[in-house]
Symmetry: C2
């Protein structure tokens, strides 16, 4: 139980630590249906960074068999009209890459302690820093699009209409983010309170303490008005059920996590 | 059905539009357990923006009775050690404020079309741009902390141990973000496909199309090991059930949304 954090390891770290931290970080990104991608102000006229919700997945085009514990790139995709793909820095920079911060967060529970100030969330969160550049190689682009499509529902790429048309490939941009650093932060376990509250009998008798588990549900698939396939294919229905069960189990088990 | 967007209205816009856009934008922020707050690179040595998951709520200290359709501030809180509260620009800037981008995103469904490239998510997303500054007035700080605590479970502030201790107020920082602009984007409805795929009999017979609704569940509250209140209070149990029901209803109803 408690707060955990892991740093994206530098070359110097030993092998065991490296694999574990990378695996945790990469797994969380890959199990997040959405990531938030932030870029620095795109022009001197606006002081604000810009954040875009996108689909992202860790992968390796040069070594597709790489595991989640290996160094990987982050792939992102969006429509070419998206702010990220038309950012001035993406065309004027000499390196043709944009510094980005990518964030993936899972909310796992509402932690309600005696004091509002000791209340918290159970959560898992990853932040990655890296340089995003457009993927121009067509084979790499198709690799990334399959990776991203299959992250929504595994097997969907091969099940959908293939191959991509020329217009589809041209209107969809893919970015590869070379990761420079990152970290993993999490909180699990039950509530925690200060001694002065724990010893306050009136407060202990009056204030309920505990955790409300929170998780994401993938519900029953609803066929489109023009669908002609009678039964929902197993790869979709089973994936939805399995993800829902895994998410629910994580949220409940997180509450029982013991102090380390 | 389809894609919707709303801009945070400028003074010039008429009253009706203003209220509607603000209400949509503010409601989405307030129904998000987490927002992602991005700031520009905090020093010249790092090129990367930084994104932090935080609890945020729209409110008005000067006019607590303001409705969601009125102009409001965004309140954020975190531990004073947090990067956001120790950002160099928060102390060196003459205005003592940090430009931030705040993002809140709800995933509502996996939209699986005949072509992977017409596949999408049903979602609702808000981005706000504004200037964040620490709240120094103690009454405003307590107002904001109650607002934020009650956003987790309505009524929790008054139900928990009160009043806050001096140490608690000192170790918790609150930021007020003055909103400069923002926007709301959403996608709802069923799948959509291009004519060449709709007319392809082989593809239509083979590829299932439809939407997997996605929503967040607040599960059964789990009492802590030191809880002494026998029954889960109604304000917690009912809130969890009601939120779960509302979330599920939204995700399913979003699929049925008609084209506008």
């Amino acid at each position: 139980m408690g707060r955990h954090s892991l740093e994206y390891p530098k070359e110097a770290l030993n092998k065991v630590k490296r694999v574990y931290a990378l695996e945790q970080i990469h797994s969380l990104v890959n199990s997040s249906p959405l990531v938030h991608v932030s870029l620095s102000p795109s022009s001197s006229s606006s002081p604000f960074p810009v954040t875009l919700p996108m689909i992202g997945q860790m992968g390796s085009f040069s070594r597709p068999s790489a595991s989640l514990g290996d160094p990987l790139d982050l792939y992102l995709h969006g429509h070419i009209s998206s702010r990220l793909f038309t950012s001035p820095s993406s065309t004027t920079s000499t390196t043709n890459s944009i510094p980005v911060c990518v964030s993936a967060t899972h909310l796992d529970g509402l932690v309600l302690s005696l004091s509002a100030f000791n209340s918290s969330y159970n959560y898992r969160s990853v932040v990655l820093f890296g340089h995003a550049a457009p993927v121009t190689d067509e084979l790499e682009k198709v690799y990334a699009l399959k990776l991203l499509t299959d992250s929504v529902v595994p097997g969907r790429w091969d099940a959908a209409r293939l191959p991509p048309t020329r217009a589809e490939l041209q209107s969809t941009a893919v970015l590869r983010v070379k990761i420079a650093s990152g970290s993993f932060k999490a909180r699990d376990g039950e509530t925690g309170d200060d001694r002065h509250d724990m010893e306050n009998e009136e407060v202990r008798r009056r204030v309920w303490t505990g955790v409300v588990p929170v998780h994401q549900v993938f519900g029953s698939p609803v066929a489109s008005s023009y669908n002609r396939v009678e039964e929902t294919p197993a790869y979709i229905a089973e994936y939805a059920q399995e993800q829902t069960r895994e998410n629910a189990e994580y949220a409940v088990n997180a509450i029982k996590a013991q102090k380390k």
